[in-house]
């Protein structure tokens, strides 16, 4: 039997290792799925099915020359990629991947920690991600970067509102801010997607905007802004932005699963052991990761004013209305 602390450290290592591996595999999956959708084969030279491609990319990025543009704010220029990558990775700490488990003789739960305000933690830390984008855009001393950064921050802030209100509805219905309790509430009753398919849809679409993914990827709108906020970045710093983006996608996929698809709950089988719940969770989250890529290679990009109009004129009023409606239902004892 190993000490409790060692078990916790192993859990942390496993979950962060899993997150980084997922982010790395997502870069491959992005290329593979885009290739399949376009009737191509995709990368298949490095390792079986090209599985070692992310490794090769990583090595390449490390050996690339690092260029800092003239007139750039060097401190912020270095800080920005970290600001983009770190918050996305921090959020994963509270996500409940599975229920109670006994690991090496210790009773524990499959998550790094169980905060009782984890929903707020997720929103607070997740909101920091916009700093990486805006700082990267501003510190590069390039108009394209600045425009990309500005757009991205405007977009992320406007969609975060609707995202937050959708989470608020779920929190109201479950009566708790603890992600694990939200999962338990869905395990006991209906999954949230059943009573709120509209909120689910709103949440998913806002997630795309929040992570700067197609069709809302105005931060790196190639035809207009060269590369957007990361135009001036090279080598591993550029890779860090992508790591941040894919980590954010992974976390958002997990959050969508937790808030709307019952987290690790398996239908009609509430007593499932953790080693069945974990694959169930990963399957659900994996679907959303696939959806991110699938949508990217299907839909054309929005216009920026359309994006803002959708965010402020449709999503926000509707989410507000939904909060009031859910509040009314709850106060009349609808979810008790």
């Amino acid at each position: 039997m190993i000490p409790y602390e060692a078990m916790v450290l192993m859990k942390v290592a496993a979950i962060y290792g899993g997150l980084l591996a997922t982010a790395a595999l997502m870069t491959l999956a992005e290329r593979k799925v885009s290739a399949w959708i376009q009737w191509r084969v995709g990368p298949n030279r490095v390792g079986p099915f090209g599985l070692l491609q992310p490794l090769a990319d990583g090595v390449k990025f490390i050996f690339k020359e690092e260029v800092v543009p003239e007139g750039a704010n060097r401190f912020l220029f270095r800080l920005a990629p970290m600001m983009a990558a770190v918050p996305a990775m921090l959020t994963v700490a509270v996500i409940p991947f599975a229920g109670e488990a006994s690991l090496f003789g210790h009773a524990t739960t499959i998550s790094i920690t169980d905060l009782d305000v984890s929903a707020i933690y997720v929103i607070a830390i997740g909101g920091l991600g916009v700093y990486g984008v805006i700082l990267g855009g501003w510190s590069s001393n390039s108009k394209y970067s600045l425009l990309g950064g500005l757009r991205a921050s405007a977009q992320m802030i406007s969609y975060e509102l609707s995202l937050l209100l959708a989470i608020l509805c779920v929190v109201l219905a479950a009566g708790t801010l603890d992600l694990r309790e939200i999962v338990h509430a869905q395990q006991a009753g209906w999954w949230n997607v059943v009573w709120a398919p509209d909120l689910f849809l709103l949440f998913v679409i806002a997630t795309f905007a929040e992570t700067n993914r197609h069709p809302f990827d105005f931060a790196e709108c190639e035809p207009e802004l060269v590369g957007g906020f990361h135009t001036e970045y090279s080598s591993m710093k550029f890779a860090l932005f992508f790591l941040g983006e894919y980590c954010a996608m992974t976390v958002m996929a997990c959050l969508t699963t937790v808030f709307f698809l019952g987290g690790y709950a398996i239908p009609f089988f509430p007593e499932a052991p953790w080693f069945l719940e974990l694959p169930a969770f990963l399957l659900k989250a994996g679907f959303f990761l696939f959806l991110f890529i699938w949508v990217r290679w299907t839909l054309p990009r929005f216009r920026f004013d359309q994006l803002m109009a959708l965010g402020w004129k449709v999503f926000l009023p509707y989410a507000l209305f939904r909060v009031f409606a859910t509040g009314a239902i709850v106060s009349f004892g609808g979810f008790a």
Binding site: V33, W36, I37, Q38, W39, R40, V41, T298
Partner: protein, 174 residues
């Protein structure tokens, strides 16, 4: 002046969601379509007799001597000045052969004029298309890199005689 009449979208169209679902199902079905990728180094494009690849020198039936008599016609015909020939005399019945025959493959434009100019069936456009190396010097091909047994070029030679049959009956060597 053009007046563009915008199509009035119905509510269902303005909602976009049904159309998005349709697009998603379309791209999902595309995943299972047969792939059009050709895995190049393993799966090459088929070459035909018409393929006009890099020029190569033919060897005579003995498989050792070049058909070239270093007359210099291809050198003159070459619009890219890619060919350099130095000839010398031999004791054979055909008195001349090239001492040096170089084609700068970086200059060659694969036009095939050398093939048409040659009176001795000594140079033909092969079906070899690949051209890559690490130095420029390595891409200046000398006789050793250019010579090919006649059998390898036979398909092109037959084609060449067929298309030019009206004014070219035979060469003086073959």
């Amino acid at each position: 002046m053009v007046i563009v009449k915008r199509k009035q979208l119905s509510f269902r169209e303005r909602l976009f969601l049904p159309e998005i679902a349709r697009a998603l199902s379309h791209s999902f079905r595309a995943i299972f379509k047969p792939k059009i990728t050709r895995q190049y180094p393993e799966e090459r494009l088929p070459t035909t007799e018409v393929t006009r690849g890099q020029p190569r020198l033919t060897l005579l039936e003995d498989g050792n001597t070049l058909a070239c008599v270093s007359c210099g016609l291809c050198e003159i015909a070459c619009p890219a000045y890619a060919i350099t020939i130095d000839g010398h005399e031999t004791d054979r019945f055909i008195e001349r052969e090239p001492e040096r025959f170089e084609i700068d493959m970086l200059r060659c434009i694969l036009c095939g004029f050398c093939e048409e100019a040659c009176p001795k069936d000594a140079i033909f456009m092969s079906d070899e298309l690949e051209l890559a190396d690490f130095t420029r010097a390595a891409l200046v091909y000398d006789i050793d890199k250019l010579k090919r047994p006649k059998a390898e070029l036979q398909r092109r030679i037959d084609y060449f005689y067929r298309v030019n049959s009206r004014w070219r009956k035979s060469s003086s060597t073959s």
